[in-house]
């Protein structure tokens, strides 16, 4: 589903964010990406959503080389990727319904279809009763779930999450992760960047670890999680 081949990214100014990163996430897989802040997690996600382009190497999604995607096509690529952000990126002056409906409005769904799908998505994240509220009136966990509803409302085959549990307590974080598991069960590939190691430790998922832009572990090795990173 996501494949990196010898990817390096150097920002203008010489800061090297990624060095020869290689990995492959299979379709339908759920995986975590971890590492210190500044290790290159965000850069890696940005390369997948084409907010940045790699300096060297290839990024492929479903076998398609993203370097062949022109600027005009990026919008269409993003419709295939559900993205979830630590800062939610919700529109605070719109209702929950409008926020979740946004991707469908952009894609030109009919009014009826939009209402149906938004209700279904909010049902999944358990916010059916908050549909007319403003995101401002919701708690942090609820706001994050609105963001998730928006990411999945057009049923993308791939979900990317950047620190989705960043500001949440462990219980709420677990709820969010359970949601991702549900989507994964339904066949969606899920790729989550987080530095919440406690959360990862409680689950047996493939974990990719970045350190100073290099991929240092890939797999279910648990030792690094406690020893190597946070000493």
């Amino acid at each position: 589903m996501i494949k990196f081949e010898q990817v390096s990214k150097t920002y203008p100014g010489g800061q090297q964010a990624l060095r020869k990163v290689d990995f492959h996430i299979e379709p339908g897989e759920m995986a975590f990406l971890t590492g210190h802040s500044g290790a290159g997690k965000s850069t890696l996600l940005k390369l997948i959503s084409i907010m940045e382009r790699p300096t060297v190497g290839k990024v492929l999604i479903n076998g398609h080389d993203l370097s062949n995607i022109q600027r005009k096509q990026i919008a269409y690529i993003r419709r295939d990727i559900g993205m979830i952000f630590q800062s939610h990126q919700l529109l605070m002056d719109k209702t929950v319904f409008d926020n979740v409906a946004l991707p469908l409005v952009i894609e030109g769904y009919s009014h009826k279809e939009i209402a149906k799908r938004v209700h279904a998505a909010l049902e999944m994240v358990g916010l059916r009763d908050k549909i007319k509220n403003s995101p401002m009136m919701l708690s942090g966990g609820e706001q994050q779930r609105v963001g998730i509803a928006r990411a999945v409302v057009n049923k993308p085959p791939l979900l990317l999450a950047d620190e989705p549990t960043g500001n949440l307590d462990p219980k709420l974080s677990m709820e969010i992760i359970r949601l991702f598991e549900d989507f994964n069960q339904a066949g969606v590939s899920v790729f989550i960047a987080t530095h919440d190691l406690g959360l990862i430790a409680r689950m047996k998922y493939r974990t990719l670890t970045l350190k100073q832009g290099q991929m240092i572990t890939d797999g279910l090795d648990e030792e690094f999680q406690t020893d190597d990173l946070y000493v």
């Binding site: 096509q73 919008a75 269409y76 419709r79 295939d80 529109l91 946004l102 952009i106 030109g108």
Partner: protein, 326 residues
């Protein structure tokens, strides 16, 4: 259709709707965005009204000048019709020669009426009107020539046609000098042309200023919605989709500015009509100023909308493109 995932349908394709329905949906969504932009203008009405005011008044000035020039042209074309040719006859032309000449000219198709003023009659008139009175009696002989006033038919009253007629009349044996009294008219025309060009230049400068002002206003609109645009881009909105509401904002600025300009011009003309009436009464001319007719109004509206759209196009392209999620 998705680029990355073969077989995955995106958007409206999933709903099995006919092409006709899709076209209807296209217009429905456009109307919705247009009304949305109008609502947006209403929510920030103070600043919107200022922009619309700038646009409207910038169009009012050239429009009013245009109406004035058009009216002046109309008035002067009315005068043109009355242009007369004065023929001063040779002194040695005998009475019968003159009679012959009058008869001949009268038959020309270009000539409407002729009036013969004999030298004696002219001297009498001069005595009465000039105030020299008795002084003239001391003259040995009448220094004035016989004069024929020729009024061309309306078809030959225009400056060039009248000039041709003049040349033809000058060719007559009895005629000494011919004079076409339209030089002042030509001067007036020249002046009007200068004014017209001035109006065009002023209009172009104002229009350019309007485009820049609207461009800047839309730029500020875009920047104030930066967060929203970022989110829209993150969830897959194309630049065209994001640009559309701003284009509609430009459209509404233009439309409302055009309507405002029409009101302003109408009020201005109404205000000035009484003073214009006084002037035309002094010249003993019955003259009503022609205001804006429907087609002029439509032209104003079209220009105004064009300015609004080009202003927004100017900034929308660049600034929507510039905002990219980082």
């Amino acid at each position: 259709m998705s680029i990355l995932f073969k077989g995955r349908v995106q958007g409206a394709q999933i709903a099995q709707i006919s092409a006709a329905q899709r076209i209807v949906m296209f217009f429905v969504s456009h109307v919705r965005q247009a009304l949305g932009s109008l609502g947006e203008l209403w929510r920030s009405r103070t600043s919107s009204f200022m922009t619309i005011g700038v646009l409207g008044l910038s169009i009012t000035l050239p429009s009013t000048l245009y109406v004035m020039v058009k009216n002046a042209e109309q008035v002067s074309s009315g005068w043109e019709q009355a242009s007369q040719i004065s023929l001063f006859l040779k002194e040695d032309a005998s009475k019968s020669d003159v009679d012959q000449l009058l008869k001949r000219i009268q038959l020309w198709p270009e000539v409407d009426t002729i009036e013969f003023i004999s030298a004696d009659k002219a001297l009498d008139e001069f005595k009465q009107l000039s105030g020299f009175g008795d002084a003239i009696t001391y003259l040995d002989e009448n220094p004035l020539p016989n004069v024929v006033l020729v009024t061309p038919t309306s078809r030959h009253a225009g400056p060039t046609a009248a000039r041709l007629l003049l040349e033809k009349l000058k060719g007559e044996r009895e005629v000494d000098i011919g004079k076409l009294d339209i030089e002042w008219l030509e001067r007036l025309h020249g002046l009007l042309n200068v004014v017209k060009e001035l109006v065009t230049v002023i209009a172009l400068l104002l229009f350019l200023a309007v485009v820049l002002i609207i461009g800047n206003t839309i730029r500020l609109n875009i920047l104030s919605k930066k967060d929203e645009i970022l989110v829209m881009k993150l969830v897959g909105a194309t630049d065209a989709f994001i640009q559309r509401p701003f284009m509609y904002t430009g459209f509404w600025y233009g439309f409302l500015g055009g309507v405002l300009a029409w009101f302003a011009v109408t009020i201005l003309l109404w205000w000035m009509s009484s003073s214009i009436k006084t002037v035309s009464a002094l010249y003993q001319k019955n003259f009503d100023i022609t205001g804006l007719n429907f087609s002029t109004f439509m032209l104003m509206l079209a220009v105004s909308i064009f300015l609004g759209l080009s202003g927004s196009l100017l900034s929308v392209r660049r600034h929507v493109r510039e905002i990219e999620p980082k």
